[in-house]
């Protein structure tokens, strides 16, 4: 059998040692009527057949790398240095458990400590945890921290937050009787009844708003300020901590993690020192062993569910250590300057594409008044779904039709460029789009 190492002889010896006549006897405590249900499951597969079967399924997908893709919207195709994949493919890392026995887990513990340190530097904050599931749940955990810290039950959220993040905050909030209010101007609206003010950097449409005043306004009314940030943006822009934010959360997927149809990605969270003990998730600390050597251990576990049960700061147990390792290796290889360069290339390409598209008749920026990084909302002639479909026929994923999130944006597309969008792709986009230019309506 596939992964069962004991043969008939060994099994017999083991039964003898137990004093049982058969394996069936070992299940005697399970009531008879429950045992051996008739299951309809497919035949077992040889490894070779399994590979063929999954390759067949994989072939029914069209990977981004086989297309000219301009899809972003929270999940980015960024170049991943080979050493990142090599690191997370090591069984020493991927088959290890949560490092509860510190002495036999120093490798994982040290990489987590490095991750925490790098996230602090990137966000400009004091303490980062070992990771959370994704950007959306990290934001929801941040909001729950603010609710616990302030004792208030209303949270104010910027209207340009990623829709996935907003909906997850709402789901978490409903469980705790927390009211979630969205507004276009968080800084002007935040009041003494709010647990927190949540903004995005950049917003869902790729734009950068002036968010420093939000942090100040929140502080003035005793609310917690939370920034949902793209980590590559943090390498280019003044980081949220320096702008005065109390908590920064985000999705670390751009840091060396493939899109993988939306997961597994990586949630990160960094906070000011004062909020350390309210943080959810694991924390690794630097300490010593009994011989005075540097050593690392999970710490401040009194916050966590396995110690505190219903009084824990969160129910989180498993986090995303392996994707955090990918991010650690990515950041270590790229460095702060390398990440900034990647951001700059993305900005340059997005702005170049936008400039070339908006000279075409019927194409224009949907948010011309706001500066944007590597994504922009593009108004196209006619329905954006029709346009995207027609572009797809040319092998181009032109962007995300925004009518799916906002009926008022049916003629808009969210277009993204990164360092993986080569100039030749940009040329093909412009060339294909130019056929739709002019007053004629698009027909698919």
């Amino acid at each position: 059998m596939a992964y069962l190492p004991n043969g008939a002889d060994e099994r017999r010896q083991m039964l003898e040692a137990i004093g049982a006549a058969s394996v069936e006897e070992l299940f005697a405590t399970v009531p008879e009527p429950l045992r051996h249900p008739q299951l309809t499951l497919p035949e077992p597969l040889a490894e070779q057949d399994l590979v063929a079967e999954l390759e067949r399924l994989a072939a029914r997908n069209h990977p981004l790398g086989s297309l000219d893709s301009f899809l972003g919207a929270g999940v980015y195709r960024r170049y991943v240095p080979a050493i990142v994949r090599a690191a997370i493919a090591r069984p020493e890392f991927y088959t290890a458990y949560t490092p509860y026995q510190a002495e036999a887990s120093q490798g994982t513990l040290q990489t987590i400590f490095e991750f925490q340190s790098m996230i602090c530097e990137l966000t400009g904050l004091d303490v980062a945890n070992a990771s959370l599931y994704d950007g959306a749940t990290a934001a929801a955990e941040g909001v729950m921290m603010a609710v616990a810290q302030t004792g208030r039950h209303r949270v104010l959220v910027a209207a340009d937050l990623h829709p996935e993040t907003l909906t997850v905050i709402r789901t978490y909030g409903r469980g705790r009787g927390v009211e979630v209010v969205t507004t276009a101007d968080v800084g002007a609206t935040v009041g003494a009844g709010d647990a927190c003010a949540v903004v995005a950097l950049p917003g869902f449409l790729g734009t950068v708003a002036e968010i420093a005043p939000v942090a100040q306004a929140a502080r003035a009314v005793g609310a917690i300020s939370i920034c949902c940030a793209d980590p590559i943006a943090c390498a280019l822009l003044t980081p949220p901590g320096d702008l005065g934010f109390d908590i920064t959360v985000g999705d670390g997927q751009p840091l060396g993690i493939p899109p993988s149809f939306g997961g597994p990605h990586l949630g990160f969270m960094a906070v000011r020192q004062e909020l350390m003990r309210r943080m959810p998730g694991r924390l690794v600390g630097l300490t010593h062993d009994h011989d005075g050597r540097r050593a690392y251990a999970l710490t401040l576990q009194a916050r966590e569910q396995h110690i505190r049960r219903e009084k824990a700061t969160s129910n989180i147990c498993t986090n995303h250590a392996l994707t955090a390792l990918a991010a650690t290796v990515y950041m270590a290889r790229m460095g702060g300057a390398g990440m900034r360069r990647v951001a700059e290339i993305s900005v340059q390409r997005a702005h170049a594409l936008a400039a070339r598209l908006t000279v075409l008749d019927g194409f224009e920026l949907a948010e011309p008044a706001h500066p944007y990084l590597w994504e922009f909302a593009l108004r196209v002639p006619g329905d954006a779904e029709d346009f995207a479909r027609a572009m797809r026929h040319q092998g181009i994923v032109a962007g995300l039709p925004l009518g799916r999130f906002d009926p008022d944006r049916r003629e808009q597309l969210l277009v993204c460029c990164t360092e993986t969008s080569p100039p030749t792709s940009l040329d093909r986009y412009v060339e294909a789009a130019s056929r739709f230019a002019g007053p004629v309506t698009v027909s698919p």
């Binding site: 070992l26 499951l41 994982t108 925490q116 530097e121 420093a212 990605h265 360092e419």
Partner: protein, 503 residues
């Protein structure tokens, strides 16, 4: 010592004691800001950032993260890797964690571009294979658990617990039953159960266990009233003992209008052999990183699908994956849904691995449970002469021993756990369940050979014999690991949670 002496580290002479054998942090490896990889040319006209981003505050200087040259980074990772116990090195008998072997082929399959390089917002027509895989995986897991529908969205077991409880609350609310605010949880349950209940805004009521380690039905009955939303149970429970009264508990729970929640952490004991749905459970969460062999990754990513009986299907998180003839699609239009519990559709990469695992075993999957229980019972039979067992009842895929009442007075579970590390085997789960003093919880899983179980038993015997002879040596263990016993008290008392450059 030579391995610790890296160019650029503050130890060009003889390493200080603090440094002996230590691996420098990535910040101390001598990389600088300019040593990152060569980047592609933007290939477009270069315009000043200030012009492209008017009024946007840019970093004055790059983030202070050194770019470590690839050869130096490779060696750093190689040395750190050696400082980790792992499944390719030895047994990992952590109770309740199901540290089974992770098939290598499943790792390869998850990395296929057709799975790893697809975007959650691509049109359904471009991701039919991914949707089909998810649709089929849901059916396979439904068949195995006896549930009507399953959401693959939760990212981990605890996330699945909370998702399940939110659905239970939605179910009661939809029946106008808004006063069910309590949840009954046995005292032997995993800590995530009460923490998830609290996160869902439910009040936790702890249920006592009998001397045989199973839930006390009379105590359940005493607490069951119209304020109870659900009973959360793990079966077999954390002592590895099958809850013999499960059918009776299901009956009285349903009679009282409460629902029954199954914590799937221990499904490895029963997979293919008995189904939570047949036992009367209404909601089930699974840990794909336990029963279905996706790797633990040093603490995630996992995956915690949650299944429900037909009566709760309307409340599943959105979107669900549906089939329309030959086409697969995402259904976002589910008005009674509890909403999304995370972004997109779940930890898809983990779903690929679990799907591959289940297809490998297919209709023979009960062999997993049979061998898991056989292995655990065999190991237990070998350890009986060494450690007292927490309960006398027959256990299944895991069992709990204790050092309390053993022949060596003063021998603690912690000391045994630490000394085992010296022999290249990982420790069992120590001090859990909390109902057993000095607990050592062993779960070998079905992927260990008899030879490997014998080695673990022999090592346990050797450690015990040593404790009889020289308790202090065991108490000061480990001695052979890359670091000796780590001062966790110091770590918590004065938390140092990040590297900072020397002043």
């Amino acid at each position: 010592m030579s391995e610790a002496v890296e160019p650029g580290v503050e130890m060009r002479q003889v390493p200080a004691p603090e440094w002996a054998g230590a691996e420098p942090l990535v910040f101390e490896l001598g990389g600088d800001l300019e040593m990152g990889p060569r980047e592609v040319d933007a290939g477009v006209p270069d315009r000043p950032l200030g012009e492209l981003l008017p009024g946007v505050a840019l970093r004055a200087a790059p983030a202070a993260l050194p770019a470590v040259p690839e050869p130096v980074l490779a060696r750093h990772l190689g040395r750190l890797a050696r400082r980790n116990h792992n499944l390719h090195q030895g047994i990992y008998p952590l109770g309740s964690c199901t540290m089974k072997y992770n098939p290598v082929v499943d790792e390869e399959l998850a990395r296929l571009a057709g799975f790893a390089d697809i975007h959650p917002y691509q049109d359904a027509g471009d991701v039919q294979g991914a949707l089909q895989l998810m649709w089929e995986l849901e059916r396979l897991l439904c068949e195995i658990t006896g549930m009507a529908r399953i959401s693959l969205q939760p990212a981990a077991g605890a996330h699945g617990e909370w998702t399940g409880l939110r659905m239970i609350q939605a179910y009661h609310a939809a029946h106008g039953d808004t006063h069910r605010t309590r949840v009954l949880i046995p005292n032997s349950a995993h800590g995530t159960n009460p923490a998830s209940a609290a996160l869902a805004g439910l009040e936790v009521v702890t249920i006592q266990s009998n001397a045989d380690g199973t839930v006390d039905v009379a105590d359940v009955a005493r607490h069951l009233d119209s304020s109870v939303a659900a009973i959360m149970m793990t079966n077999p429970n954390t002592l590895g003992v099958f809850e013999k009264d499960i059918l009776e508990i299901a009956r009285i729970a349903h009679e009282a209008g409460a629902l029954l929640y199954y914590d799937g952490a221990n499904l490895n004991a029963l997979v293919g052999l008995a189904r939570p749905g047949d036992m009367g459970f209404d909601v089930v969460h699974l840990n794909l990183h336990k029963t279905f062999s996706t790797p633990h990754g040093g603490g995630g990513p996992g995956s915690g699908p949650v299944g429900v009986a037909e009566a709760l299907a309307a409340f599943l998180p959105t979107p669900t994956v549906e089939r329309d003839g030959d086409r697969f699609l995402l259904d976002h239009d589910r008005p009674q849904s509890i909403g999304k519990v995370r972004s997109y559709y779940g930890n898809f990469g983990m779903l690929v691995r679990a799907y591959a695992y289940i297809r490998t075993y297919g209709s023979s999957i009960s062999a997993v449970a049979e061998n898991a229980v056989l292995n655990a019972r065999y190991l237990q039979s070998r350890l009986r002469g060494i450690f007292p067992m927490a309960v006398t009842s027959d256990s299944m895929h895991e069992f709990v021993a204790t050092t309390r009442g053993s022949r060596v007075a003063g021998l603690r579970a912690l000391d045994v756990a630490k000394r085992l590390l010296d022999y290249g085997v990982y420790a069992p789960t120590a001090y859990f369940p909390t109902t057993v003093p000095e607990a050592l919880m062993f779960e070998p899983t079905e992927t260990e050979s008899k030879q490997s179980l014998d080695l673990l038993a022999d090592v346990c015997a050797a450690v015990f014999a040593e404790a009889e002879r020289d308790l202090d040596h065991v108490r000061s263990a480990p001695h052979e690991t890359p670091v000796s016993r780590v001062d966790e008290v110091e770590a918590a008392r004065r938390p140092v949670l990040r590297w900072r450059p020397a002043e």
